[in-house]
């Protein structure tokens, strides 16, 4: 698995090139990472978390336990003169008993719907997730259908590539087959998504809404950032209103 350039190296070099381009004043605005919420969907045990761990940390763990403790993972990805920061949400197992909350795909700009190329039933499940996204999620969401476990293709393939490809084309999805285990095609999934996201539109709408603003206090449009901390608590009542 050491033969091909790893996802992490690729990501690291992207980050470096981004930093080195920092002197270009004209590009300065674009170098602020554009945050993109990406959600993972798919049947349990198709390798959703493994794909992301490969993309984010360039790791693979055999028999990985279901994900615990992380709100989401982040990874940057550079595209032309822009940097995209993926905020990647895992299902945290809530898909197992059909209990995924609508909040999960709220405002997601991208979704990776994963199936297992050795399990035809997992493609059916993936199709129902795509339907759910088309019904509930942001109408401009970019959806990628990914057949995982490509490393098992020679011995255990159960879903013909053509069949999945034809469905993806018909439904207007990006499509690829990949292997979280070997790293094959994993990076490509995320760069292809980045190319398809209407970044300029995203930037423009954030500018208006003030949604990308951070720091304490109220941002434009009345939004507030609670991550800045619960300041002012237990203080003496300041600034009496009357």
């Amino acid at each position: 698995m050491a033969a091909r350039p790893s996802a992490r190296d690729a990501a690291a070099s992207l980050n470096n090139s981004a930093t080195s381009a920092g002197g270009d004043a004209q590009n300065a605005a674009n170098l602020k990472p554009i945050q993109v919420k990406l959600v993972l969907l798919g049947e349990a045990a198709v390798g959703k978390s493994s794909l992301v761990l490969r993309f984010v940390n360039n790791e693979f763990q055999e028999n990985k336990e279901p994900t615990i403790g992380a709100a989401f993972l982040t990874q940057k990805c550079k595209l032309d003169d822009k940097i995209i920061k993926y905020e990647i949400w895992d299902t945290a197992g809530q898909e197992r008993f059909h209990s995924l909350a609508p909040m999960y795909y709220r405002n997601a700009q991208a979704a990776v719907v994963v199936y297992d190329i050795t399990k035809p039933a997992s493609l059916d499940k993936a199709k129902s997730w795509v339907k759910e996204l088309q019904r509930q999620a942001n109408p401009n969401i970019v959806i990628a259908l990914v057949g995982n476990k490509l490393d098992l293709e020679a011995t255990a393939r159960g879903v013909p590539r053509e069949e999945a490809q034809a469905y993806a084309t018909e439904a207007g999805l990006l499509f690829s087959e990949a292997s979280a285990k070997t790293g094959d095609n994993v990076m490509d999934v995320f760069t292809e998504i980045a190319k398809k996201i209407p970044l300029d539109q995203l930037l423009a709408s954030r500018g208006r809404a003030g949604g990308a603003a951070s720091g304490s206090g109220a941002a434009a449009g009345g939004r507030v950032d609670l991550n800045a901390g619960p300041g002012g608590r237990n203080a003496q009542p300041g600034g009496c209103a009357c």
């Binding site: 984010v56 197992g93 809530q94 008993f97 009345g222 939004r223 009542p237």
Partner: protein
């Protein structure tokens, strides 16, 4: 589900989801079930189809209201106080990562037949029509007293020990008019009735501080509200629970609670029994273990305009103090709009609510409804309020309370703390509860 759990939680309302999240973070093995196929129970926000299914099962939503998905209509109106305990819990559990909040644009109070903004700064206070010039001076002295009060320094007490003196004494000392007392007790301290007057002033003092601190935090009003509606809140805490290993099952009927020697040992659903040491749930799952404590009437109103006389605010709270309309309990109006992603473009939803005092609850809301201007559609409900008859220590069944008529989540937090203590034996400390994710960090492992 044929497994053993430390706790099984029934119902995915906000109180239950916060508890589920906190217990999962501590390493408890939690199974969380709901009979509905959606999250939130009473604290859900509904789209148009769900709203009509609930209130007008024989009707389709009219097309003028636009797309179903644009609507997230709360059933129980509440806002978060910016410096309150609920915001504190959100912050320390990192659930703020999943939600976006927006300020409520204004807080108003009704007096002598009209509404006025609760001043949010000195300039507004000086020009406020709520008090005459002499009363403003008296009020200023009162607020200086509140601001300077220090329980450990008798020199700041001006002869009033707030631990013991009733609020009536404090009002008397500063010579505040009845209208100003209404303003302080109801618009700032957010008491629902006047029983606080004869109680020690400390609680009212603390409530005024909470209001002031919350107001000072972001300006405009002391309240914040999650985009897409209050239904996002239980979902956020459910996700917290899930990422710490909690198991979620929606659309899961509870057939039976299984006891051995009077102690809960399991929950039976669809023929299977999940074993457990404790059960937490909302009152609807335990009809024989709760008692009714009152009723709240709520009118969900859809408007295609801002509420009149509010400077076209995109969101607002209006408090109508009980005495102003000859009642025993305040009436509240809580309005939010498309600016919070809870309604289609150019629509507002206003929920009018109060504690029921007569046999014609809808009529009790009339003074508030009259402030709203033309109402495009309204949905009226009367809900019973329940609380458990026992504390749960004897049988291992810990029941939460119904959501009350207060306009914020502070009493919900109190219930969370009470149940948490009964279940675990410890006081809840939220500080340092989770390892907070660094801005921009990967956060895993």
């Amino acid at each position: 589900m044929d497994e053993s759990y430390d706790v099984i939680v029934l119902g995915t309302g906000l109180t239950e989801c916060i508890l589920s999240g906190l217990l999962s973070v501590e390493g408890k093995k939690v199974l969380h079930m709901d009979r509905n196929d959606y999250y939130g129970g009473e604290s859900a926000s509904l789209n148009l189809t769900q709203l009509y299914r609930k209130f007008r099962p024989d009707q389709q939503p009219p097309s003028q209201f636009g797309r179903d998905r644009d609507w997230n209509v709360d059933l129980i109106p509440k806002f978060a106080m910016a410096s309150g305990e609920f915001t504190n819990i959100l912050y320390h559990t990192d659930v703020t990562r999943y939600l976006e909040f927006r300020q409520i644009a204004g807080s108003y109070v009704y007096r002598d037949g009209r509404i006025s903004k609760v001043p949010s700064n000195q300039t507004e206070a000086v020009s406020s029509p709520l008090m005459g010039i002499f009363e403003k001076r008296r009020a200023k002295k009162f607020f200086e007293f509140v601001q300077g009060y220090d329980f450990n320094n008798p020199a700041t007490h001006q002869g009033l020990d707030l631990n013991t003196v009733p609020m009536t004494e404090v009002y008397k000392k500063f010579g505040l008019e009845p209208g100003t007392q209404d303003f302080v007790g109801h618009a700032l301290a957010l008491h629902l009735d006047d029983s606080y007057m004869t109680q020690p002033a400390k609680e009212t003092y603390e409530r005024i501080c909470l209001y002031m601190n919350s107001m000072a935090r972001y300006g405009k009003s002391p309240y914040i509200y999650p985009l897409y509606g209050l239904g996002e809140l239980p979902q956020g805490f459910a996700r917290l629970s899930a990422i710490y290993g909690g198991t979620y099952m929606l659309n899961k009927k509870v057939d039976e609670l299984v006891y051995e020697d009077g102690k809960i040992v399991g929950v039976k659903s669809e023929g299977e029994v999940a074993k457990t040491k404790a059960v937490i749930g909302d009152p609807s799952y335990f009809p024989d273990k709760v008692k009714k404590t009152g009723q709240v009437v709520r009118a969900i109103c859809i408007l295609n305009h801002p509420i009149p006389n509010t400077a076209d605010a995109d969101s607002i709270q209006i408090v109508i103090p009980q005495k102003q309309v000859n009642r025993g309990h305040d009436i509240y109006i809580a309005a939010v709009s498309y600016a919070h992603n809870v309604a289609a473009k150019d629509y507002w939803t206003a929920i009018v609510s109060t504690i029921v005092e007569t046999s014609d609850p809808e009529k009790e809301l009339q003074p508030a409804m009259a402030l709203l201007g033309p109402i495009a559609e309204k949905f009226i409900s009367v809900s019973d309020l329940y609380e458990p008859v026992a504390d749960g220590r004897a049988d291992g069944v810990y029941i939460t309370k119904s959501y009350d008529a207060t306009s914020h989540f502070e009493t919900t937090c109190q219930d969370v703390k009470d149940v948490y203590k009964r279940v675990t034996g410890n006081d809840l400390k939220v500080e340092g509860k989770v390892k907070k994710q660094e801005e921009g960090g990967a956060g895993a492992e």
